[in-house]
Symmetry: C2
Subunit: 338 residues, 2 copies
DNA sequence: GCACTTGGTGGGAACGTTCCCACCTCGCCA
DNA sequence: TGGCGAGGTGGGAACGTTCCCACCAAGTGC
């Protein structure tokens, strides 16, 4: 029992004693339906437990009511990197109200990327959200060419033509460095993110700006490049200590790298914050629990998620709408490490 | 330029000088096609840059090649709880090979749950993965009634009829407690997960079993219930310290709660591990970075993800296949906290 | 030389919607 | 009384596939 055949719009029409079109109108909220007809249809729908088949609808409307969220897993950080989880949560929140489905695509390598563009070409999504884009990422361009609404969390460069949303990386980084200066630190190093990413370059620029502001030179010995991983943070810290043994502070472009850096400092016998002050970026939930608790630049990660989703929905609804560029504020959360 | 009209199977057929059906056969890898016809079709596909419309295909095959992964966000833990991220990663890995799309659904409240069952009824997914199920969760039963292939990470009870995959919670918990006993601890408390979840009850039972094994009584004063959150861990630790001030060890059913518990212990002036040894569960990536580093029961979270996905794919392919029940091994990772 | 298989092929129908258009029935105005 | 707009309605066509079936040609066995 139970199963039977799923009712279709025809079944409902027959039951309600009206035509297919009228049922469709009721479902889609058209006003051109008499009250009696509407009531009859609604009753039939309830009795039959009818749910419209969205695949059939999608075929004729060529809308799927779903969007893709693409996360590069090559940077294998979902899991150790709370940033992505928070973005996912934000996106999901913004989508929940609109009955739009979320397709999650973790892209590992080249092959999967092809699969991704295929899957987009197959018309399985109405739009795409891209997280963590690199400067020479081919994907945003491809999507743009396909005419598919696309919104980025982050940007390829300051000249990004696509709609995008990101935190105030420049201001956040500068605030971190100003804080270190105010604490009396004199040799302030930095561990950057990947320099083929705008976020990496911009946070580095923030470090430079704050130093310049204070009339200090940005010494090349004080810069090491990381890759947003813990191991990368350790490596970068090691090379900084070699190049500039007298450093007394580090601004690290992510909390995960900061954790690696602190581990390396401990290994080398440097105390945090006594010998070396450390400031991270992200204000991940674990920043409160490191030893010592990590000072960090807070960025509204979840809000980045809700915002890209909303911008995308808007762009899907009106493809002619002008591209948007939204910057969200950061704030410094001071803890024991600085 | 560029855009034009998307080619359909008809366009391809015309270009290749064959019928629609032959094109379809080539696409779907049927052997009943002559080599010439196949070559012509393949050439036409390449020239026209044709990609089949999966929505149209889905309408006739009533398959969508996508599965839903449902995560209760009411327990708002994606983000602070790496478990979910790892499961997502595993699921995505297993799905990547099969061109199956992943629909992520974070379910907050009752309303969204209705939306979920609707969206399933709308035939938007071929199967469902459920994570973190509670004893009286209505969802698994609903899905079962709808005849939709469903696989759980975890289970509602030991008698779970649906296919499910989980870690050896009983053995893992017992190993943790045995370890504490071996360390000479005598008053071993536990902070449990929610007791309306099998995972909560089973880890508690593991604690009991190990104590019984050692000829010790499982004193009710030594049990406090948590909710898998950090704040819950703090609360539980506080009530344990009140009820049993002489405790010298705690087995905590999750790392996140263990972090809370350790914070509370520090606040009360108890040293870890000198005064109180702490063991967590999950071996989250941050366990290495707590102060002191946290001893924890490792569970193969990502593998749980790949496994539920594989079981689900199997069940979609063959709905008559017997339900599976898979238990994955755990192991104890000893660090400074015990 | 005839029936009978077997590999290969293509057209019609179906999947369950929405959209376009034609139509019907009012009430209103000249 | 006749024309006309407007509210309400329903049937046909279309969306782009796959599946069923009919068909055709070239063998194969008697």
């Amino acid at each position: 029992m139970g199963g039977r055949q799923r009712p279709t719009i025809k079944t409902v029409a027959a039951r309600a004693g009206v035509g297919r079109t009228t049922v469709s109108r009721v479902i889609n909220g058209s006003t051109l339906v008499s009250d009696e007809a509407r009531a009859a249809v609604l009753a039939a729908i309830a009795e039959l437990n009818y749910v419209p088949n969205s695949v059939a609808r999608g075929l004729v409307t060529s809308r799927t009511n779903s969007v893709a969220l693409v996360i590069p897993e090559s940077e294998s950080r979902l899991g150790s990197e709370p940033y992505f989880s928070a973005v996912i949560r934000g996106v999901s929140t913004a989508l929940a109200d609109t009955r739009t489905q979320l397709q999650l695509m973790l892209v590992r390598d080249k092959g999967e990327q092809d699969q991704l563009t295929d899957s987009v070409a197959e018309r399985r999504v109405d739009g795409v959200l891209l997280v963590s884009v690199h400067e020479r990422d081919p994907l945003p361009g491809l999507l743009e060419d396909m005419g598919l609404p696309t919104v980025l969390a982050g940007r390829r460069s300051p000249a990004e033509p696509l709609s995008h949303v990101h935190a105030d990386n420049l201001g956040g980084a500068a605030a971190a460095v100003r804080h270190l200066i105010a604490r009396g630190r004199t040799e302030i190093a930095t561990i950057t993110g990947p320099l083929d990413m705008d976020v990496g370059r911009t946070r580095l620029q923030g470090w430079r700006d704050a130093l310049a502001e204070a009339g200090r030179a940005a010494d090349g010995r004080l810069v090491a490049t990381g890759d947003f991983t813990e191991a990368g943070g350790e490596r970068a810290m090691r090379s900084l200590l070699e190049a500039a043994p007298d450093l007394d502070a580090v601004f690290v472009a992510s909390d995960v790298m900061a954790v690696g850096a602190m581990a390396e400092l401990r290994r080398r016998g440097r105390r945090v914050p006594d010998d070396v002050a450390v400031v991270g970026f992200d204000d991940s939930f674990f920043a409160r629990h490191t030893d010592p608790p990590l000072t960090s630049v807070r960025q509204p990660t979840e809000e980045i998620g809700t915002t890209i989703a909303r911008v995308l929905l808007r762009e899907i609804a009106d493809p002619e709408a002008p591209r948007q560029h939204i910057v969200l504020p950061t704030s410094l959360v001071v803890r024991g490490s600085s």
